[in-house]
Amino acid sequence: MFVRLYADNYRCFSAFTLELSSLSVLLGSNGSGKSTVMELFAKLRDFVTGREKSLDLFPPETLCRWDKRIEQTIEVGLRLEEHGEYIYRLRIRHEAKERALNKVVEETLTLNGKPLFEGNDKEIRLHNDLQSGNPVGMQADWHVSGISRVYERNDNQKLIAFRKSFENMLVLQLNPGLVSAVATAKQLVEIPRPDCSDFAGWLRHISAADVIVRQQAEQSLAQGSLPGFRAFQATHSGDTDILECFFESKPKPLKFRLDELSSGQIALIILEVAMAASAERGGVLLLDEPSNFLGLQEIQPLLVRLQDAALEGRFQVVLTVHHPIAVDLLAASYGLWLEREPTGPSRAYRVQMAESTTDENSAMRVSDLVARGWVSALGISRTVVAQETGSATAAQ
């Protein structure tokens, strides 16, 4: 389970810390940094797993606009039951704000306080699982994660477990309008893009590599989350596959291309597959506004299932939400409020509902409080927020 994210000099994050649990629900106004959390996790995943380079993931535009420093620091805390507490630290130095050149000057991974991996811009030292003896040296690459370049061996399973936690991370910011039913033969999609425009390719990969995920998703959809749904089918057409969905109909089922379905139906399908994949891998699922595009009747069942999955330990869930149903259901127990002055740094606060403000006879819904901006009832002091934000900005 990812337990902590720290980011300094990254977009709206300046010495920003976010503590996470099995279910974390990010709340806050537009522009408060919720989606930036999602984006940063996706970037870290793509870096640590070797899918992308620091040059592409961390261009100079990702530096804080008000900060003159040219170095970014990101830390992630991960707790794995079988191994313990990992801390991953990444430091990137930009050549200058105007030039799209950067290099990794520090990449380290510790487990329970002892080093597993130590890298800088000159060399890399790789420790074995016992974290003893002489570390193995490797040449540093300024733009590629050293951890992504480590081959799996019997004596480095702890480091591989860390990397797999990122491989099992899904970050989705759905945009059904961009989702295509077409997957080209050469397109290998092990991890979908956040907007899931490549969903057809991802489902094809799942069908080949993890067929149980596809079957479980089909079962859930057919059992009620998507009325009438029966199954997926990929039809070959030249060097492409067209993803189609069968729906119950008399005398025989009707089939529709995925992109012929409504935005809400596409969103439901993607969410089911994402939940099935996360459950199968025991990973983490980060969803930016999962209630977007869904009908009112679909929202609570989805959220309850995500809550169940997280609390039963099947997979970790991080959500950003605005919808009142989501806010009322989840904010009081799992809420993290993000607050930000329009051009200042973000800060995160755990929601702590005061008993006195939630007396049954006088209680307002949490969504009402949020809509009015009366966040003191969520245990958030605006004075503290203003002071902290002001001092942080002034310090730059």
């Binding site: 609570q300 609390l311 989840l330 127990s333 939630t358 949490v366």
Partner: protein, 192 residues
């Protein structure tokens, strides 16, 4: 498949809700709206009492709803007192009585849901432990038994569905025996 919500579930917390949904899931094809008390939102008992009555009122006003299921821990206050508190409010508001056969079901675990969870889990894994209905197992699990966690709630509800309420083993908590009979009546009522 109809999308209409059949049942409204009113619980003190997520564990109660997960347990009840486990049972209802096994009963099959029921659409549930969950009105569980969000933590921090006042007292759990007050929440269930208030929301249960409101949902019974909704049931009488609108024809689509089929049933309301509530879970309210006895917590040493006597089950009959808990039930009477709700029954009184229903009577005062001319909302009739609380009867599972009419789709209005209030379960009152004694002493609390943990009593049921420990008994069900022990029978599920085949290592029977002695459970009474006065000890607060929320604070301390029965001797020699691992503490119940979130992963046990839904399976306990599912397991309960497999039991025959007329042939429950010796030592079954009395309110669980009664609760299972109520749940059978409730499911039959909402299916009519």
């Amino acid at each position: 498949m109809p999308r209409t919500c059949n049942i409204v579930l009113v619980c003190e917390g997520w564990q109660d809700s997960a347990f009840a949904r486990g049972f209802l899931r096994m009963a099959g094809n029921l659409k549930i709206l969950d009105r569980t008390n969000p933590r921090g939102s006042g007292c759990g008992h007050d929440w269930v009492r208030t929301q249960f009555v409101e949902e019974v009122a909704n049931l009488t006003r609108f024809s689509e709803g089929r049933g309301v299921l509530g879970l309210l821990d006895e917590d040493g206050q006597r089950a009959s007192e808990r039930e009477n508190e709700v029954a009184d409010v229903l009577r005062k508001r001319n909302l009739g009585s609380c009867s599972a056969t009419e789709g209005r079901c209030l379960l009152v675990p004694t002493r609390n849901l943990e009593t049921w969870l420990y008994w069900l889990k022990s029978h599920q894994v085949g290592s029977v432990v002695s459970i009474d209905e006065t000890t607060d197992f929320k604070r301390q699990p029965p001797a020699g038994v691992a503490r119940i966690d979130n992963r046990d709630c839904r399976p306990a509800g599912e397991f309960l569905h497999t039991l025959d309420h007329t042939r429950l083993p010796e030592g079954c908590p009395s309110m669980l025996r009664r609760g299972l009979a109520q749940l059978r009546d409730f499911v039959n009522a909402v299916r009519r």
